[in-house]
């Protein structure tokens, strides 16, 4: 295998692993917080339904966390196996957050084990809830540390490269790079948002499929409210991300927005297609890009003409950007409408078609996560470490990457199908009505 092939297959395998892992990772970061909120609401309102909600979510969460853990292990090792030259360089400067991530993960794993096996062990529910706090913190901090590494790839700093030698290394400066605040906030908040919508989808689906139990209605309302809060936060952080890009990675912003010429009063191009270098069927919002980039409708925004041709990312990232933003805005609007309508007691929220809309929120949010990561990674091309190392110089020289790609694709297929089958079976065998009934009997002392 020539090295070009090794580079190509390394890219495909990394993309495949990350695209698969991010589904479970996103759920893994967000769900503990949702469980915590549900259990807390249950304790506060003294409402058994919310406690049960937390308990059933926790059961499902174990399955997704297992896949998240093993695919996380896979990508952790693959970084060194597929990109040895990059890791050799990166290890010198950005190893600290990678190392801290394993601690966060360790912490989470220990307390998750404890939390799962101590239901009803404590007289006081609050004590049990306390055990979940380290799980949620560990999960979120795993995301924080890993995203810091990704931020470093976009805006490397904290070292000097002199004649190929790394000097003046400052690990903390490398961690707190300019890309870090917006990226970390964006990743963590969208994980919360997506998890809320995934859980909302499930509740809406159960309501559609004939179960009219109060339990699902409470679940739906709670998760949609949380979805609304976190999607508003996402929108605000998204705006800051645009400003970060304009300042530090202007070529990424220009490529994502199809902004070809540097100009003032730059319009924002939405949708459209690119035909022979010409933008067609697009919606142009006057001054839009200038506002997005600099909060000033007359500001100058750098266009692609300012950059060397071989340092411009592929232009198809515009579609990814549109997909991500459209879903984000759509979900914000939909959840706002739902929460408002429930408050006003409008009846259309209980209709079939509207519930189907709610079912779509989870999958759509996940699609936006995928689009966002593809945008982030493809938008950094041709660099693996911006302005320092190109992707093709980072890859392995090993000749067996294509075979490994096939093996891992098979693995992800098994894990994906397996997790879905197991989750479905788990909740089908033990429907919530049954469990509520069982618990009632247990408390009445009929069954010990």
């Amino acid at each position: 295998m020539g090295n070009e092939e090794a580079v190509f297959f390394s890219r495909v395998l990394t993309e495949l692993t990350l695209s698969f892992h991010i589904i479970y990772a996103t759920i893994g970061v967000g769900i503990p917080l949702m469980i915590m909120i549900a259990q807390w609401v249950g304790i506060k309102k003294n409402d058994e339904h919310y406690i049960l909600l937390a308990r059933r979510w926790a059961r499902g969460f174990v399955i997704t966390v297992a896949v998240g853990v093993v695919t996380g292990t896979a990508i952790g090792l693959q970084l060194s196996l597929l990109w040895p030259n990059f890791m050799e360089l990166a290890g010198n400067v950005i190893a600290l957050p990678l190392f801290m991530e394993t601690f966060a993960f360790f912490f989470e794993a220990i307390f998750l084990g404890i939390y799962l096996y101590t239901w009803d062990r404590f007289e006081n529910q609050k004590k049990h809830l306390l055990l979940l706090i380290p799980v949620a913190i560990g999960a979120s901090f795993s995301a924080v540390f890993i995203t810091i590494v990704n931020a470093f790839m976009n805006a490397p700093q904290g070292f000097d490269l002199v004649n190929g030698e790394l000097i003046n290394i400052n690990p903390l400066l490398a961690m707190f790079n300019p890309a870090m605040p917006t990226k970390v906030a964006h990743v963590v908040v969208t994980a919360y948002m997506t998890s809320a919508f995934v859980l909302a989808s499930i509740a809406a689906f159960r309501l559609l499929k004939g179960s009219n139990h109060e339990y699902h209605k409470k679940a739906l309302f709670l998760t949609m409210k949380l979805g609304l809060i976190f999607s508003i936060a996402t929108a605000i952080i998204g705006d800051f991300s645009g400003k970060y890009l304009a300042e530090y990675q202007p070529e990424k912003l220009a490529a994502a927005e199809w902004h070809f010429e540097t100009e003032e009063n730059a319009p924002l191009i939405m949708y459209g297609i690119l035909d022979d270098g010409e933008v067609k069927y697009a919606i142009k919002i006057p001054y839009g890009l200038s506002v997005l980039a600099h909060s000033n409708p007359f500001a100058e925004v750098q266009g692609l003409n300012d950059f060397p041709e071989d340092e411009i990312p592929p232009l198809y990232i515009h579609y990814l950007f549109d997909l991500m933003v459209t879903i984000g805005v759509g979900l914000t609007a939909l959840s706002a409408l739902y929460v408002f309508a429930v408050g006003r007691k409008w009846s259309f929220v209980h209709t079939k078609w509207f519930r189907w809309l709610l079912v779509s929120t989870g999958p759509l949010a996940m699609l936006a996560i995928e689009a966002g990561w593809w945008l982030a990674e493809v938008g950094r091309q041709p660099w693996i470490l911006r302005k320092i190392m190109r992707v093709e110089d980072a890859a392995t020289t090993s000749g067996q990457v294509d075979l490994m790609l096939v093996l891992f694709a098979g693995l992800y297929l098994i894990l994906g199908v397996g997790s879905v089958v197991v989750l479905r079976r788990m909740f089908k065998r033990n429907p919530v009505e049954q469990e509520i009934e069982d618990r009632r009997k247990e408390q009445d002392g009929e069954v010990q």
Binding site: R55, R59, V62, I63, V65, A66, V69, V70, T71, T73, A74, L77, Q78, S80, L81, L82, W83, P84, M87, E88, L89, G91, N92, A95, L96, F99, E101, T102, F103, F105, F106, F107, A109, I110, L112, G113, I114, L116, Y117, T118, W119, L166, I169, P171, L172, T396, T397, S398, Q400, M404, L407, F408, L411, I414, L415, G418, S419, V422, R425, M426
Partner: protein, 341 residues
């Protein structure tokens, strides 16, 4: 003590932790599968599930910790080992992934049948086998530099007796470690028939373990004389390790203090593991890579050590809590109470 030594010691401790907890886990899976096949599964299943359920995820972290840490402390290892280990490490990941996730699927989703139990048991033997190849490669002679890139000679690797003895040692040792631990655990749980069965396994695997371990030292004489000489310099460490081994076997034989027996076993493996590591130093990969020429910069090393100490301050109390609630809690171990979500 130099920063290099601190770094490698920290990593070696975690790898030792993985060796012990993963051995228990893998061995348990194998014994369970074997007993299912011979229709005696009722004896062990309960004991094994009670032990594994709350801790399986923690096991994995020890391994992750090691390979993330080694890239942090010794970034050059990414270049040498990353390039050459693509195939064996990928196979290990895939097996780990299937094994780990299906454990969760079976335990929490009650999604299991015999074929799966069998696969689960066998995978537990293949994982250490594929991981232990790294130790063989580190002895040198299997990697050559072609156009400035390390290339692994698979033919030479798979025809070397050293490779196979290390593979056999990884399997016998894990079965031995697992059997001794589970004997203690079963005894704590007050399960007599399981204790007896596991005691038998402990005695059965004791001799093969010590024979293969001795055989490897012998083979190193031909393969890597430099390492062999350094092992001989440390003869007293390995001698002490052997005495602890005798102690463990004697206690198990006499059906006495299984807890102490497991303690001695841990000591035996710790001495052997650190003796091996110490005699291997300063090389990470003969003859290309030492802990000195692959070491990271001072700023990173110090920040990693600080992070490590802080992290340990967080981890040790949590681990203690985990062990207290499950491993050392009588009601839990005996299965009197079950509080699973």
């Amino acid at each position: 003590m130099t920063l290099e030594i601190i770094g490698i010691t920290v990593l070696w401790i975690f790898l030792f932790g993985y060796l012990i907890v993963a051995s228990i886990d893998f061995g348990a899976g194998f014994f369970n599968a074997y007993n299912t096949l011979t229709r005696r599964d009722h004896i062990l299943t309960n004991i094994i599930e009670r032990y594994l359920s709350p801790v399986w995820e923690v096991t994995n972290v020890f391994l992750v910790f090691f390979f993330v840490g080694i890239i942090g402390f010794f970034p050059k290892t990414a270049f040498y080992y990353g390039t050459t280990l693509l195939v064996p490490a990928s196979i290990a990941i895939i097996l780990l992934a299937i094994r780990g996730s299906y454990y969760a699927f079976a335990m929490y989703g009650s999604y299991g049948h015999k074929g799966y139990t069998f696969m689960y048991g066998i995978a537990g033997l293949f994982i250490p086998a594929s991981l232990s190849i790294v130790l063989t490669i580190s002895e040198g002679g299997f990697i050559s530099m072609v156009n400035d890139h390390p290339v692994l000679d698979y033919w030479k690797l798979f025809t070397s007796p050293l490779t196979w003895s290390i593979v056999v040692l990884s399997i016998t040792a894990l079965l031995y470690i697992s059997a001794v631990f589970l004997t203690w655990y079963a005894n704590k749980a007050g399960d007599t028939s399981a204790t007896e069965l596991l005691r038998k396994y402990s005695l059965l695997w004791a001799l093969p373990t010590i024979i293969t371990a001795g055989g490897i030292i012998f083979e190193l004489r031909g393969h890597n004389p430099e390492h062999y000489a350094r092992i001989l310099d440390l003869w007293w460490v390995f001698g002490l390790s052997f005495l602890l081994f005798v102690g463990t076997v004697w206690l198990i034989w006499k059906r006495r203090s299984y807890g102490l027996a497991f303690g001695l076993l841990t000591g035996q493996f710790a001495l052997a593991f650190f003796g091996y590591g110490f005699s291997h130093a300063p090389y990470l990969l003969y003859p290309y890579l030492t802990i000195y020429d692959s070491f990271t910069n001072e700023a990173m090393a110090i920040s990693l050590i600080v992070a490590f100490v802080a992290g340990l301050g967080l981890l040790l109390p949590s681990l203690y809590l985990l062990l207290r609630l499950f491993l050392f809690n009588k009601d839990y171990v005996r299965g009197n109470k079950d509080f699973h979500a």
